[in-house]
């Protein structure tokens, strides 16, 4: 027994370290190969990235960039833990941010009220938009993958319709945007040097803690993970799978609704035609990279920000501007593949050991036959 314990202990530690190490190494090698193929020096590129990325203004930029990425990843991860693929975070946060901006621009309340109202509107709209997919799946059996993709494009059209001068927007030069949110509705900034960090980083931290707590420590989280691992077992254990699908889509959508908040309340103060898009898809990559883990996703979001920040500098140094996109893709692929490889290797080894153990025991099985008959006789 103790021999087994030891073995499994070493194994699990190796497994925990093997996957990220393998992924990083592979990503590093592959990225170097790609840079070499473009006729440039990869080591200089890495030097530039580290040098530029560690400057203090870069650090602030990266953190501010990572906030919406992290929220988006958390929204996606809630779905992933449930075995649901919410591709619609993109549409959810855009619709949510738009209506939150409209409400925020129309109201002039004290900050303690104005900010919560804006956030609640954003979460409610995001939840509603995602909930459509959840309801369609439970009532009509439509895959959430299809519906959320379609809802993304409906979201775009919906915003496009309302974002005009005679509807809900004002014209500012060539751009349309919603009325600007008054000072009282804006989120605080953390006064760092040279640029401030967005106060909405607090929102991301709160969501991360809540995600960790609800998924890992509560009955609801257990039910959610159980459905994600085996719908049939969860249902036999007493979880209402249909209700859980709708609930988790609503939750995922509510968190998705927060994705636009850092931009809205710390930067743009209105929803305009230049409001960032595509963050929902970035969230999928970050959730994959962070293995749906609250801390892992934080690292992944920061890594993403780092790559985007340093990519700008690489361009100045004469590297192809697409190189960062290529590196991001390589990293995600490497992480996904590395975890799968390690999982399979470990599984196969465990199977072999258990199998060998069993056949060894079956060989000496005569005495067990004896116990069986004895048990039969005691009836």
């Amino acid at each position: 027994m103790s021999r087994w314990k030891e073995k499994f202990g070493v194994q699990s530690v190796l497994q925990a370290l093997a996957a990220p190490a393998l992924a990083l190494l592979a990503a590093f090698v592959l990225s170097s190969v790609v840079i070499l193929a473009t006729g440039k020096d990869p080591f200089h590129a890495f030097f530039v990235m580290i040098d530029f990325g560690s400057k203090s203004d870069s650090q602030v930029w990266i953190i501010n960039k990572a906030i919406p990425y992290y929220l988006s990843a958390a929204a996606v991860a809630i779905g992933f833990r449930m075995n649901l693929f919410n591709i619609g975070v993109d549409g959810q946060y855009r619709v949510a941010a738009f209506f939150a901006a409209v409400v925020g621009g129309a109201l002039a309340l004290p900050g303690v009220l104005q900010i919560p109202v804006i956030i609640i509107v954003a979460m409610a709209v995001g939840a509603l938009w995602a909930g459509i997919a959840g309801v369609l799946r439970t009532t009509r059996g439509v895959s959430e993958v299809i519906t959320t993709i379609m809802l993304n494009s409906i979201a775009g059209s919906l915003i496009g319709y309302f974002l005009s001068e005679d509807k809900l927007a004002v014209k500012d030069g060539n751009l349309f945007h919603t009325p600007t949110i008054p000072e009282s509705g804006r989120f605080f900034l953390i006064p760092t040097d040279p640029d401030p960090i967005y106060g909405t980083v607090v929102v991301a931290v709160v969501i991360g803690l809540a995600y960790w707590f609800v998924i890992g420590r509560t009955r609801f989280g257990f039910d959610l993970r159980a459905v994600g691992r085996s719908e049939s077992a969860a249902s036999a254990s007493g979880v209402s799978v249909r209700r859980m699908v709708v609930t988790s889509m609503l939750l995922s959508g509510a968190v998705a609704g927060l994705v636009g908040i850092p931009t809205l309340l710390n930067k743009s103060f209105s929803y305009g035609t230049d409001f960032p898009t595509g963050v929902g898809f970035t969230g999928i990559a970050i959730a994959l990279l962070g293995r749906n883990h609250p801390f892992g996703m934080a690292l992944a979001a920061l890594l993403w920000g780092f790559l985007e920040r340093t990519g700008i500098q690489l361009e100045f140094e004469g590297y192809a501007q697409e190189i960062v996109g290529v590196m991001q893709g390589i990293i995600v692929l490497c992480v996904v593949i590395a975890y799968e490889i390690v999982r399979r290797v470990v599984l196969r080894r465990q199977q072999r050991e258990v199998g060998a153990e069993l056949s060894a025991r079956a060989g000496a099985g005569t005495e067990q036959d004896g116990t069986e008959q004895k048990a039969g006789a005691t009836a």
Binding site: K5, R219, G238, Q351, G355, L358, S359, A362
Partner: protein, 547 residues
């Protein structure tokens, strides 16, 4: 002519190599196949002679289907050799097996409903005889030669089950099969169709083809087979000739020990009803989209301290009955009452909280989260109960309910120790345990919540003998403590040995009841196939009022 060949072909297993390569169609030596946590086949030795019908019998889960998948190239054995026509072969895929003249008729037919018989037959084998006149001619030839009577232009969706089965046989023959594997071919047929199928098989045999016939219906096996190999718990335990054996002997070989004789044992049955099921009806949509009644007017009562065993051929409504009692499906009519509490339409969680423990038929699908560690599986199904929960956050009513992770872990350790679950620890995934140890863990988990009713569906299926004895002891202990137990099993030995009352289920109805102290497996068997009904042997007074 065929009787002569069968006479020489049923040599005892020891004389296997004796007849030489010429008479041997298939020879399996030392086949071992392991799956995570179970050994499906161990040291299988079978010699099948050409031109015979060779039956492979064994209980459900004994490893027959795995063995046939190995022979058909769908699985690779971990150890052992396969010889076809005396020549050692390695089969990588069904295509290899087909190339070696092996054909398989699966239990669930693999036909495209919207194509004709001709189209189904040539599908994937277009290279052999084309798709036109040549193919049609070949099909005609085969159909006439073996008296299969198929119509090449009939749409498969218009055919009945027996006709579809003949199409499957034709498909295999069309691909040049000289050895046919039939997996439980009679399970879906009515008796007249079974006779017709057997006539076909004799025809095939007369033409020199070999048939490997998998079944657990002993009467059929004895009537059609030239040789019988018995598989028990993954290994071949005997090869016998049908002339020299009886259904009783075969049954004993299958279950592994002498069938229990009528034992006098202390009855713990009380007259306090625990579970009352009355007039339960359920209909479900089957795979063809037809609405069928799967539970028809089911009524029974289980008292405190009573084990009610339900016998039946699989697929006669036992699984649906369990689902209706567990609340996984909502009945169309009738009532389910547990200890005076009406649970007919209650959700599963409430039923579990009210005291139903559940050992599911398919532990991988319904009893465990395979990829989760053992201690999380301790929580599964009892997330609202102590020791897994510690109430709402900060004691505020309505706040999120917290898990008591430490207590759950400690209790998982206790279950592992008390129920002798052989595992390196509670952090390993449930999937890495063997079937028997998974099952012991489930039994331990369910018993830890002191249920009033325990539903045990095939509790010892696919578990090793040591675990089986322990699980039986647990069920007996539960009964002594006054639990009501609903036992569903395909293992007649288990049913007779554990039950206080036996009911037989056939086509969604409880058609017969029996006193386990006096009934024999054969009598039960005949009721299971619908041949007998009513009271078998002595009537048991405790359930007499239900019919």
């Amino acid at each position: 002519m065929s009787s002569e060949s069968s006479g020489s072909s049923t040599a005892p297993p020891g004389a296997g190599p004796g007849p030489g390569g010429s008479g041997t169609a298939v020879e399996l030596r030392g086949i071992t196949k392991r799956f995570p946590g179970v050994v499906a086949n161990r040291d299988i030795d079978i010699t099948v002679h050409r031109g015979t019908v060779h039956a492979l019998v064994g209980e459900n889960g004994a490893g027959k289907s795995t063995l046939m998948k190995i022979l058909y190239g769908m699985q690779r054995p971990d150890e052992g050799t396969i010889s076809i026509d005396g020549e050692p072969v390695t089969l990588h895929s069904p295509a290899d097996a087909i190339a070696r003249g092996i054909g398989m008729v699966h239990q669930h037919f693999m036909l495209a409903d919207n194509l004709t018989v001709l189209e189904n037959t040539v599908l994937g084998a277009e290279k052999l005889h084309g798709i036109g006149a040549r193919a049609r001619k070949k099909i005609k030839e085969l159909s006439d030669a073996y008296q299969l009577g198929v119509r090449p232009d009939a749409l498969v969706e218009e055919l009945g089950v027996a006709d579809r089965q003949r199409v499957e046989i034709l498909k295999a023959l069309y691909r040049g099969a000289r050895t046919l594997i039939l997996d439980e071919p009679t399970a879906v047929l009515v008796p007249q169709e079974v006779d017709a199928l057997f006539a076909n098989l004799r025809e095939l045999k007369a033409e020199g083809l070999t048939v490997l016939f998998i079944s657990h219906k002993l009467g059929e096996v004895l009537s059609v087979a030239d040789a019988i190999t018995v598989i028990r718990r993954g290994t071949t335990v005997a090869s016998v000739r049908p002339q020299e054996t009886s259904p009783k002997q075969l049954a004993e070989l299958m279950v592994g020990s002498e069938l229990p004789t009528a034992e006098t044992r202390e009855s713990t049955v009380t007259d306090v009803p625990m579970l009352k099921v009355e007039g339960l009806r359920l209909s479900a949509t089957d795979s063809d989209g037809v609405r069928r009644t799967v539970l028809d007017d089911i009524s029974f009562t289980i008292h405190k301290g009573e084990v009610l065993g339900i016998a039946g051929v699989e697929g006669n409504g036992q699984a649906e009955l369990v689902e209706a009692v567990m609340g996984m499906s909502d009945p169309d009519g009738g009532t389910v009452t547990l200890d005076g509490q009406d649970l007919t339409h209650a959700p599963t969680r409430l039923r579990r909280e009210s005291g139903i423990g559940y050992i599911p038929e398919d532990r991988h699908r319904h009893g465990l989260l395979l990829e989760a560690p053992l201690w999380e599986n301790r929580i599964l199904g009892h997330v609202t109960e102590k020791p897994n929960t510690k109430g709402p956050l900060l004691g505020i009513p309505g706040a999120p309910q917290l898990l008591a992770l430490g207590d759950a872990r400690a209790d998982a350790e206790r279950i592992v120790a008390e129920y002798d679950v052989r595992t390196p620890g509670i952090e390993v995934t449930a999937a890495s345990l063997s079937g028997g140890n998974q099952q012991k863990f489930i039994v331990g988990r369910e018993m830890s919540h002191h249920p009033k009713l325990l539903i045990a569906a095939h509790p010892t299926r696919g578990v090793d003998v040591g675990a089986q004895a322990q699980i039986w002891d647990q069920i007996r202990a539960a009964r002594r403590e006054g639990l009501a137990v609903l036992l569903i099993s395909a293992d007649l030995d288990e049913l007779i040995g554990l039950s206080d009352t036996l009911r037989v289920m056939y086509r969604g109805r409880l058609v017969a009841d029996a006193d386990p102290a006096h009934v024999t497996p054969e009598e039960l068997g005949s009721a299971m196939t619908g041949a007998a009904s009513g009271h078998l042997e002595h009537q048991d007074e405790t359930t007499g009022g239900d019919k």
